[in-house]
């Protein structure tokens, strides 16, 4: 998130090299259960996974509007979902440019909500 804690950063949405952005299907879950999924599956001993400072709640429509798809695969954990359909191109610069544009739009979409816990959720051994 940005310093003012108002918006997620565009790069948060940028897909990894395999083109599958890992997210959680949270529709219908109460807030505390969404955090619990994060606590159980996002936190760990690896660097960068010691705490959760916030999450972005993204309606599926925001993805569909940008020609992306959310495919729930329940792998490696229940409710795990992959966001796929990112634009591809033989021109790597072109591909990066297109994906960067989508990420910026998602980060600025008023329907995409940044949710911040009262205090960071910290990994405990």
């Amino acid at each position: 998130m940005n310093k003012l804690r108002t918006r997620p950063m565009p790069d948060s949405f940028y897909p990894p090299a395999d083109g599958e952005l890992s997210v959680v299907h949270s529709t219908g879950l109460p807030d505390h259960e969404v955090w619990e999924i994060g606590r159980t599956h996002a936190l760990g001993d690896q660097p960068g996974r010691d705490r959760i400072r916030g999450r972005a709640d993204v309606p599926v429509k925001a993805l569909i509007d940008r020609k992306l798809s959310a495919i729930r695969d329940d792998n490696p954990f229940k409710r795990h979902t992959s966001v796929i359909g990112w634009p591809t191109s033989d021109d790597a610069d072109q591909q990066k440019q297109q994906r960067t544009g989508i990420c910026l739009e998602l980060s600025q979409d008023p329907d995409v909500k940044l949710i911040i816990p009262e205090s960071p959720i910290v990994h405990t051994a």
């Binding site: 940005n2 310093k3 003012l4 108002t6 918006r7 950063m9 565009p10 790069d11 940028y14 990894p16 090299a17 890992s22 760990g44 690896q46 660097p47 960068g48 996974r49 610069d93 072109q94 990066k96 440019q97 297109q98 960067t100 544009g101 990420c103 910026l104 739009e105 980060s107 600025q108 008023p110």
Partner: protein
């Protein structure tokens, strides 16, 4: 006389590097005055400390993102060449231009972000060849492009930053 290509039109007090092709004595005097003012601004405590703060943040980001998988999800370490191009980019920003938030992207590039308000933002990622991939939004319009940095801010990015800064400035006045 087209003295400035990378200006922040409409934002009083913003000084961009001059790029003049004018040859008259008068134009040269104006150029010299502009450059003197710009030099004063760049060496002023307020301006230099703001830029230094961002450069310090960039240095901290590089430290945090120095190893493979620094984000816990297989991110590449921040690329040294990207880091150096980012320094060059930040140093080339006009003296009183709004400064970005800096972060490391998962692919080893440096990300610079300016958020001015709802749907008013610019993001730039700087790669190891000096390639700047950028996208910006102003209201419902999204623009994007790829440019390369040399000794100054690429004109397309300066234009985007100028548009966003001008809009933010106008909204403050209203």
């Amino acid at each position: 006389m087209n003295m400035m290509e990378a200006t922040f039109e409409g934002m009083p007090g913003l000084i961009a590097p001059a790029r003049s092709t004018a040859e008259s004595d008068f134009a040269k005097v104006i150029d010299k005055m502009r450059e003197d003012i710009r030099g004063e601004l760049l060496t002023s405590y307020v301006m230099s400390s703001a830029t230094e703060k961002v450069l310090t943040e960039l240095w901290e980001v590089r430290s945090e993102a120095s190893s493979e998988g620094w984000d816990g999800y297989g991110a590449k370490p921040l690329d040294q060449a990207s880091y150096e191009f980012a320094i060059r980019f930040l140093n080339a920003l006009p003296a009183s231009a709004p400064l970005p938030e800096v972060s490391a992207a998962g692919d080893g590039e440096v990300a610079l972000d300016w958020i001015f308000g709802e749907r008013k933002a610019l993001t730039v990622t700087i790669g190891r060849t000096g390639r700047c991939t950028f996208a910006w939004m102003l209201g419902q319009s999204t623009h994007r492009g790829t440019v390369w940095i040399d000794d100054e801010i690429p004109a397309a990015i300066a234009f985007a930053l100028g548009q966003l800064a001008r809009d933010a400035s106008a909204n403050r006045v209203r």
